[in-house]
């Protein structure tokens, strides 16, 4: 569904991605893990079109994604739940979800997606008229994921949904993501919480200073000696 070939991205002279290749099949749950500054967020921003690569190719459902304008990429079914949540702070919870459904498909499917989102995160139904900026961190993360789902996407990209949250909330959020995936959505997840991410994914990539250092199925990565030592603390 998503194929990335030899992606090169630089900010000014500094290379953030050095030839990253990655693939996501329909229905898969793919995790990208790696330390701070590895280029994970940059990878997502490039897929969404906020950052333009120097070289490389991205194909999404047989289309050259780099030729598609950034605002049109959401229309193709890509939902990006950004790092640090980035909710529309001055708008209500409901308005945030409505904006998630800004795409044509989101509009058409609104009557089905909204009840699904509210069932997944009941707290959002309770807080529907509250300004998003006044929600707690965990609630904002749920809203950001709900907003992503509201577009009725084909591919859900999650950038560090665990960031700054208490362990109990992180578990709840991972459990929800797992649930969304079991219902058939393709997921691309970026995480620093390597253990949780590798446990839930089908396949994973380890990104280190802008390169794919390792890739493999959930089982191979979990069993890999280097991964265990460097990331799982075993």
């Amino acid at each position: 569904m998503l194929k990335i070939r030899s992606l090169e991205v630089a900010y000014g002279g500094l290379h953030a991605l050095n030839g990253v290749s990655l693939e996501v099949e329909r229905g898969e749950f793919v995790a990208v893990v790696g330390p701070n500054g590895a280029g994970k967020t940059t990878l997502f921003k490039t897929i969404s079109g906020i950052v333009t690569p120097l070289a490389g190719a991205i194909t999404y459902m047989e289309r050259d994604l780099l030729a598609v304008a950034p605002a049109e990429r959401a229309q193709l079914g890509i939902a990006h739940v950004p790092e640090g949540r980035q909710v529309f702070a001055s708008m209500t919870v409901m308005e945030n979800l409505e904006m998630g459904a800004y795409t044509r498909k989101g509009q058409q499917r609104w009557s089905e997606t909204l009840p699904m989102i509210l069932a997944l995160f009941p707290i959002l139904a309770e807080r529907r008229a509250q300004l998003a900026g006044t929600l707690s961190g965990g609630e904002q993360q749920m809203l950001a994921i709900g907003r992503g789902l509201a577009s009725a996407p084909e591919l859900l990209m999650l950038d560090e949904p665990s960031m700054g949250l208490a362990p109990a909330i992180v578990d709840a959020i991972f459990e929800r993501i797992h649930h969304i995936h079991r219902n058939g959505l393709t997921i691309l997840l970026v995480e620093q919480r390597v253990a949780e991410a590798l446990e839930t994914c089908d396949r994973g990539y380890v990104l280190e200073t802008g390169r794919v250092a390792m890739e493999g199925t959930h089982k191979t990565l979990m069993a890999d000696e280097r991964v265990r030592r460097a990331y799982l603390g075993m």
Partner: protein, 313 residues
């Protein structure tokens, strides 16, 4: 007893006058409220867009007489309304070629969100518009002629100038229409979302540059309409923008940043204070009175009358 009666009449008269002029101020503030309150763009040329609205209305109605066929009553009102799209188009173009360079997603990370560059750029635009206006339109004070400005409605002992009253009604309708547009329609919400968080807006599929351009055009266009309405009861010259811009900022801050209805109330309050201050203060102190009230309200309610507080994420 008689004395008290006339004091009361004076009071009511000043109140009514303040309300009527305040409605037009309110609409001006609503326009700035979109740009400064919602989009957080500093636009010092805002008063000059109001001036452009005044001249647009003047040339449509009196100068070229395009709207003469509508008659002396409907013509000036139609002129004010049509000044909106004209000023919108000017604002849209200025935003596309100049203002977008110092606003929006490109500069959120810059120091003070690009406000320094915005101040300089829009001050420059303000000067160009005011001086350009002087060359194009001349310095003779003009006004949009309408018989309404010489007629009054009487409510008991209180006189309501018809031009101001009609301006008030139109201003309320426009402000309400804009409020409903921004809070009830998908496009309106998208404009707010693009202003609130440009990056996230792009992720949900909003064309952020287009949204900013539309919002800017809308903000100046609405103020242009207010200018056109105001021109029915007030004479103007190309430098009138400078007299109004600070008052408009006061109105927006008074109402609460980011609140459209608040901006309208802010402008209304300023009109009321300005007119009612004449009851007890000499005419020259009108603007001082406005800022004293402004400081008092901001002292007790820093978020403005209708401002809501949230942390920016």
């Amino acid at each position: 007893m008689d004395d008290l009666y006339w004091h009361l009449v004076d009071f009511l008269q000043a109140f009514a006058a303040g309300l009527l002029v305040g409605g037009t101020y309110g609409l001006m503030c609503v326009g700035l409220g979109i740009i400064f309150g919602v989009m957080r763009v500093v636009n010092f040329a805002h008063g000059d867009f109001m001036m452009l609205g005044m001249y647009a209305a003047f040339y449509l109605v009196t100068g070229f007489g395009v709207l003469a066929f509508l008659g002396p009553y409907a013509g000036p009102i139609a002129g004010a309304v049509l000044a909106g799209p004209i000023v919108f188009a000017i604002g849209w173009l200025l935003h596309k070629f100049l203002i977008s360079r110092v606003t929006g997603a490109r500069v959120v990370a810059a120091e003070a969100e690009g406000h320094y560059a915005q101040i300089i750029l829009t001050l420059g635009i303000a000067l160009v518009l005011a001086n350009g206006g002087l060359i194009l339109f001349g310095s003779t004070p003009l006004s949009v002629q309408t018989p309404l400005s010489r007629e009054s409605w009487e409510i008991g002992p209180v006189f309501l100038n018809q031009a101001r009253a009609v301006g008030f009604i139109m201003a309320v309708i426009c402000a309400l229409g804009l409020y409903l547009f921004l809070t009830r329609t998908n496009l309106g919400k998208a404009l707010r979302a693009a202003a609130d968080n440009p990056t996230a807006a792009a992720y949900v599929g909003i064309d952020v540059d287009r949204a900013h351009r539309l919002a800017f055009g809308l903000g100046v266009g609405i103020t242009g309409v207010a200018g056109g309405l105001f021109a029915m009861s007030q004479s103007f010259q190309p430098y009138i923008g400078f007299d109004f811009v600070i008052v408009m900022y006061a109105g927006v801050v008074l109402g609460g940043m980011g609140s459209i209805l608040g901006a309208f109330w802010g402008g209304l309050t300023i009109g009321l204070v300005q007119q009612m201050s004449t009851l007890i203060l000499p005419y020259q102190l009108q603007n001082t009175a406005i800022f004293v009230v402004f400081l008092v309200i901001v002292f007790f309610r820093p978020q403005g009358m209708f401002g809501r507080v949230w942390e920016r994420t």
